[in-house]
C-alpha cells in the first residue's frame, strides 16, 4: 500500500513539511529529510526548484533560485534520493512545476520516482483535467499518487470532480494567495474549512499556505486531516540553519 494512504489512516493530525531541494546547501536534501522524520514529522514535500514558480511567494521563490544556483536539477535530486528508503519510512512527495517534469519526460520521471521510493507528486500547474486525460495512467502505472489543490474559490462541482480523480488527499489551499502570504486565519477561512469538511469528500484534506506556528496548525487541522508548512520552515532554515529543525518541529508536537 502506498505510504501516503497508510499514513492517512493513522489517527493523529498530520504534520507535513515542505522544503526546497538544494537549499540552503546543495547536498542538504537527505540530512533535512532524515532530520524531519527523526523529529516526528508525518510527511515531507520535497520541492523540485523551478526558475519561474508562479504560485509561490518570495520565500520559496528565493529558495528555488538559490537551489538552482547551487546546481540542483531533477537528475541530481534523484541521485541524492537513491538510497533514501534505507533510512526514511514516512511518505515523500515531490512538489514541482510541470515544465521540468515535461522535459525529463513524464513517464521517465514517474519511473524514477518509483525507483527511489517517492509516493506522490504535487504539480501545481498541471491542471486536474489535463492530468486526468493524459497522464493519470502513467502515474498509476508507477504507483504514484497525484495530489490536487482546491482553493476557497473552487466551485463545489469542481471540488467533487477533483475528489473523484484523487486517490490520496486533497491539498486544501487555505486562502486565495501564493505561498507565504497569510498572517493567521480568520472567520472566512474557518467557514471555508467547515464547508469543505461538510462535503464529506472521499479524500481527506490537508491544508497548506499560511501555516506557520502551533496556533495556525491547530486552526487548520480543526476540520482537516493535517497541514503543510512551507514558507515558515524555509525561513527558519534560512535564519537558523539545518540544525534548528528539531526546535522548529517541536512547537507543533507540543
Amino acid at each position: 500500500m502506498n505510504r501516503i494512504i497508510q499514513k492517512l489512516q493513522e489517527p493523529q493530525k498530520l504534520l507535513s513539511i515542505y522544503f526546497t531541494a538544494g537549499y540552503p546547501e546543495l547536498n542538504d536534501t537527505v540530512t533535512i529529510i532524515k532530520s524531519l522524520e527523526d523529529n516526528g514529522v508525518d510527511m515531507i514535500e520535497i520541492g523540485l526548484p523551478f526558475s519561474d514558480p508562479l504560485a509561490d511567494g518570495p520565500t520559496i521563490q528565493d529558495s528555488s533560485t538559490a537551489a538552482l544556483k547551487n546546481g540542483m536539477s531533477s537528475n541530481l535530486l534523484f541521485d541524492q534520493l537513491t538510497n533514501i528508503r534505507e533510512i526514511v519510512k514516512i511518505p515523500l512527495i515531490i512538489m514541482g512545476y510541470f515544465n521540468p517534469i515535461l522535459q525529463f519526460g513524464v513517464e521517465d520521471f514517474c519511473k524514477k520516482c518509483q525507483e527511489v521510493g517517492i509516493d506522490g507528486l504535487i504539480i501545481p500547474d498541471l491542471p486536474a483535467d489535463v492530468y486526468n486525460e493524459h497522464y493519470r495512467h502513467i502515474f498509476e502505472k508507477y504507483g504514484l499518487i497525484n495530489i490536487f489543490l482546491i482553493t476557497p474559490q473552487t466551485s463545489e462541482e469542481r471540488v467533487k470532480f477533483i475528489d473523484g480523480i484523487s486517490n490520496g488527499f486533497i491539498y486544501m489551499v487555505s486562502s486565495a494567495s501564493v505561498t507565504g502570504s497569510q498572517s493567521g486565519f480568520g472567520n472566512e477561512q474557518e467557514a471555508y474549512f467547515k464547508r469543505i469538511h461538510n462535503m464529506q469528500l472521499k479524500n481527506p484534506q490537508i491544508v497548506g499556505f499560511g501555516i506557520k506556528d502551533k496556533e495556525t496548525f491547530t486552526q487548520a487541522t480543526q476540520y482537516a486531516k493535517g497541514a503543510i508548512i512551507g514558507s515558515a520552515f524555509i525561513k527558519n532554515l534560512t535564519f537558523n540553519g539545518v540544525n534548528s529543525i528539531e526546535l522548529f518541529t517541536k512547537q507543533f508536537k507540543a
Binding site: 519561474d52 504560485a55 521540468p100 486565495a176 494567495s177
Partner: protein, 385 residues
C-alpha cells in the same frame, strides 16, 4: 484552446476560476452588439483607427519591390498594444471587475493598460521588472501620469518574464475583483485566442486598404516581428487560411543565434510550458526557463505565443532571425528614407530585406507595430548621434 499541439491552460488551481470565467464568457461577451459597438467606436474615436496602410515609396525603390507599412505606430499610445487593452477593459467591465493588473516589459503594454484604465476610471497596477523600470523611464513616467501604480518585479532576472510571474501571483491573491490584462498572445487559454481576436483588426483593415490600393486584398507577403507575437497575430489573422499569402515572422537573434545572447525562440526553443501555455520556449536541458537577450526590450521574451509555435511547426510561416546590428541599421534607414522612426521591434522586420530577395511586383505588407520614440536612447547610444 489549442493550436495543433500548442496552447492549453497549464495553470495552478488558484487561477482556475478566473480563467474559467474568462473562457466561458469571452466569446459571448465580445460577440454582443453593444460590445462590438463600443469597441469599434473607441478604436475609431479614441485610438485613431483605421491606421493607414502606407506605400513606402523610397524604401520600395531601394529594395526594388512594393512595400506597404501598416501604421500601428500611429495608434494612441504609439503601438498596436492598445487594440488589445481596449478590448480587454470592455470585457473586464462587463465581468464586473474593479481592478486591473498587467505585466509590461518595455512599457508599451503597461502604458496601453494604464491608458484604458484611466479612460474607464478603474484602478490599475502594472508589474514591471526592476531592470526594465530603470531602462524605460519615460514609459514608467507615462504610466504614473495616467494614475497607474507601477510595482517593481524584483525576482529572477527582474525583466518581463518575472513581471509576468508577479502579475500572475497578484491575480492568485486577488481572484474575485481583478482582471489581468495580458499583453500578448501568450498565457493560458483563452488569452492567446482573445488577444489575437482583438488584434485581428489589423489584418481586417489591411484587407480592404490593400484592395483600395492594389485591387486585391491579399498581398504576397505579410511580415511582422515576433516577441510574444501579438502584432504578428493581428497582421496574420485574416490571412492564416489564405494559402497564397506567405507569412514571415521575424525574431530577435540578439548578438547572433548561436552566441548565447539571443531571443530567437523558434530556433532555440523547445516545447514546454511557460506562463500557463504549452509552446516553444528557451530553456535549459533541465526545463528551467532561460533569459533571452535582444537589444529590443519588446522582443526579449523566452517564449512565443502558441499560435506562432504552431505556425513554425507546420511551416505555415517562415521564421527569420535578425541580429541587433541589422535591426538598428534598418531602423535608421527607415527613419532617413521615409521619415518614420520605428520601434526597434519593428526594425527587425525591416532588416529582412537585406537577406531575402523579393520580386519587383511582390506586394509586401509589414506591420509597423510601434513608434521608436521609446527607443531613442538606445538608438542615440548605438549610433552615437
Amino acid at each position: 484552446g489549442y493550436y495543433g499541439e500548442f496552447g492549453g491552460a497549464y495553470i495552478p488551481e488558484m487561477l482556475y476560476p478566473n480563467i474559467e470565467e474568462l473562457r466561458q464568457n469571452y466569446l459571448k461577451i465580445t460577440a454582443e452588439p453593444s460590445f462590438q459597438e463600443e469597441f469599434h467606436a473607441l478604436l475609431k474615436d479614441y485610438v485613431g483607427r483605421p491606421t493607414p496602410l502606407y506605400y513606402a515609396k523610397r524604401l520600395s525603390e531601394k529594395f526594388n519591390t512594393k512595400i506597404y507599412l501598416k501604421r500601428e505606430d500611429l495608434n494612441h499610445t504609439g503601438a498596436h498594444k492598445v487594440n488589445n487593452t481596449i478590448g480587454q477593459i470592455l470585457l473586464a467591465q462587463r465581468l464586473g471587475k474593479t481592478r486591473i493588473i498587467a505585466e509590461t516589459g518595455a512599457g508599451q503594454h503597461g502604458v496601453a493598460t494604464a491608458t484604458v484604465c484611466a479612460l474607464m476610471g478603474i484602478e490599475c497596477v502594472v508589474y514591471m521588472g526592476e531592470v526594465d523600470i530603470a531602462r524605460q523611464a519615460p514609459n514608467v513616467a507615462r504610466m504614473k501620469m495616467l494614475g497607474a501604480k507601477v510595482v517593481p518585479a524584483t525576482s529572477g532576472s527582474k525583466t518581463l518574464k518575472d513581471a509576468t510571474n508577479e502579475a500572475m501571483r497578484d491575480w492568485i491573491n486577488n481572484p474575485v475583483d481583478t482582471h489581468y490584462i495580458v499583453g500578448s498572445v501568450v498565457g493560458p487559454h483563452p488569452y492567446p485566442d482573445m488577444v489575437a481576436r482583438f488584434q485581428a483588426v489589423v489584418s481586417e483593415e489591411i484587407k480592404w486598404q490593400l484592395r483600395e490600393k492594389e485591387g486585391r486584398s491579399n498581398p504576397d507577403y505579410v511580415m511582422a516581428c515576433v516577441g510574444g507575437g501579438s502584432n504578428a497575430a493581428g497582421a496574420f489573422y485574416h490571412y492564416l487560411d489564405e494559402k497564397d499569402v506567405k507569412l514571415i515572422a521575424v525574431e530577435a537573434a540578439g548578438k547572433g543565434v548561436d552566441t548565447g545572447e539571443s531571443a530567437a525562440t523558434s530556433i532555440l526553443g523547445k516545447e514546454g510550458i511557460i506562463h500557463g501555455s504549452k509552446t516553444l520556449l528557451m530553456q535549459t536541458h533541465d526545463g528551467q526557463i532561460t533569459e533571452p537577450y535582444s537589444i529590443s526590450a519588446g522582443l526579449d521574451y523566452p517564449g512565443v505565443g502558441p499560435m506562432h509555435a504552431h505556425l513554425f511547426k507546420t511551416g505555415r510561416a517562415e521564421f527569420i532571425a535578425i541580429t541587433d546590428d541589422d535591426a538598428m541599421t534598418s531602423g535608421l534607414e527607415l527613419s532617413q528614407l521615409e521619415g518614420i522612426i520605428p520601434a526597434i521591434e519593428t526594425s527587425h522586420a525591416l532588416a529582412v530585406f537585406n537577406y531575402k530577395k523579393f520580386k519587383p511586383n511582390d506586394v509586401i505588407v509589414i506591420n509597423l507595430s510601434g513608434r521608436g520614440d521609446k527607443d531613442l536612447d538606445t538608438y542615440i547610444k548605438y549610433f552615437k548621434l
